[in-house]
Amino acid sequence: MKLTVALLGNPNTGKSTLFSAIAGIPTRIGNYPGVTVEEKVGQFHHRGKTIELIDLPGTYSLNAKSPDEQVAVDVLHGGMAAMDRPDCIVVVADATNLSRNLYLVSQALAVGRPVLVALTLCDVAESKGIHINREKLSRCLGCPVIRLVAPRREGIDQLADALIQSSEWSGQIIPESLSSHLAKPADSDRPAASADAIARYGWIDEITKDVLSYSVQQSQSLGDRIDSVLTHRVLGTVVFALTMLSIFSSIFWLASPLMNLVSRCVEFAAGWAESVIPDGILQSLVVDGVIAGVGGVIIFLPQIAILFLFVAVLEGCGYLARAAFLMDRLLVGVGLSGKSFIPLLSSFACAIPGIMAARTIENRRDRLLTILVAPLMSCSARLPVYLLLCSAFVPNVAVGTSWIRLPAVVLASMYLIGILVAAIVAFILSRTIFRGPPQPFVLELPSWRWPQFAVVAERVREAAVSFLKNAGTLILAVSIVVWALGSFPRPVFEAGANPETAEQQGEALRQSFLGQASRLIEPVVKPLGWDWRIGCAAVASFPAREVVLGVLGVIYNLGDVDPGEEEGAGMLIRQLRAATWDGTDRKVFTLPVALSIMVFFALCAQCASTLVIIGKETGSWFWPLVSFTYMTALAWIGAFFVFQIGTALGW
């Protein structure tokens, strides 16, 4: 017989540390049906018994007010499809903060399943001079109370023993002292739920008076001193800025050698496939479709791993909550919340880890809004596009002083445009579609502690696996579709079945469905100052923005252009400068056209991976559709105005 155990507890109580210590790597990770709440199940064996451990989302109460809390309530009462009702509940309680943690214990006692209280962080509590009389506490609660120091595995065996014994209990009885508190006539003018909460705390205060004792503390604890610096109005802001700057630059720079390594491996795989598979349609499918598509996905892996490493460390030591605290006021102004900050900042490196980091926002409305605007932050994939167009078409003249050059100003404006538009979009959405009662900001600032290695490692592993598994398959499919549209129908060349020269590749693309479609949409892109070839490149860059350079290269008969190669880029620049409108000698690329392309790419949603991740994280294909539609519309409008105004001013 399998024993099913639910792990319940407040956030920041060391619940994840306990989970890793008992069950190790989870056997199942996914989402609960219909909601975006993470489901985590693990398994372990003890004295010949198999015990299944369900890690419930961290919650302060069983009065469900959020999807997370609703999931906890549903699981505990057996209302979750495809999941057994737990045989036993372990409530993880933080010993440094007993009275607030006992609130959830008091609610768990009423569920009707045996309850075990696991007191975590006992070592920290003792060093703070807090002493808990466990025998007394156990008598007051009517359930076992086990002392745990999870990172050192103290108390794990006792907990497992107690779990096995719990199956012999007939059922949990609500302590008499609690029921008498709850039965007291409530104030007539108070809602029942509020009166209930007050009554429970009345009971808790009575218990803690008996159970808790304090030894005299000489001075402010280390945690308090750290906290007074971290949340200080000036010092806190400085530390915060430095921390964010170093995280931001490491997702940018630390990841880049790893990303190069990944792309080296992908190139190697492509080269190997080319040598093994005979020339032809199959080789093109494998090399240009499958390997290019999968390679385009796994290239993001280093950034995701690094970002989640930082997020897990910051969360583990309690700084994530303080970052939200420090930034809240600024983001509330545009309808977001302090917790949106990390996801938005990460999106400057790449929207995918940014959107995944939005998991730390438990409020659904704030989370959705953050996910919708995160792709507007200019990610690193836009940088090569900006750099190429800036260096090719923006005159290198001084602006004001000699050391500020116009291309740099244009580059910075592209980043600013993204931030500005994101702020406007968030502002408008939060007052229209997402309008509702103001979302409360009631956030615990957990005491400073060292992050647990096992928890951090698990967080990184989980993010990497879920990204590869869920996005990999879909992105692969999208890449193959785009490859097929760009490869069929195939023109017949005399030399052989495969287009050999750059001219032939360009010709093949022109005759493909993609090329034909681009000529059809020329009227749509003409107001932006684009010819059909730029339109084609923009459409073909749907899988990823940086693809646009390669496509421009192909379409202007250059062959593949690696944006990282100085020489190739130089060639491309010369080619683009020489390009003329079909049948005339009017130049295609002018400054307004270059600016219009840049603004388009700053605001558009040409990134299949991002859209797939939005779908996965929101649990619905409606939101990626919304993102794509609104961003493409904004991109077109932005590009239109830049081109028209630029042309009118005679740039």
């Binding site: 009275s99 605290f325 006021r329 900001f441 009631v442 956030l443």
Partner: protein
């Protein structure tokens, strides 16, 4: 009636009541801001909002909006 939003940084006071009957008020109670509990305003964020509280041995941050619902002893 004095609200927690008007309490000076560094001052300690007692909660008298939480006004309002919606889920935000319930959340404040559930986080331990119940009548009679001692609460200290520890500090504020750089832009003056939210504020940082200490109660029941832990740190909690709430916006001034929410703090205005917390009636404290004068």
């Amino acid at each position: 009636m004095r609200s927690l939003a008007t309490v000076n940084i560094g001052s300690t006071t007692h909660v008298v009541d939480i006004s309002g009957e919606d889920s935000t008020s319930l959340r404040l109670l559930e986080m331990g801001l119940t009548p009679g509990v001692e609460v200290t305003v520890v500090g504020t964020a750089p832009l003056g909002d939210p504020i940082e509280l200490e109660l029941r041995g832990y740190r909690l941050s709430i916006r001034r909006n929410e703090a205005a619902r917390v009636v404290v002893a004068t």
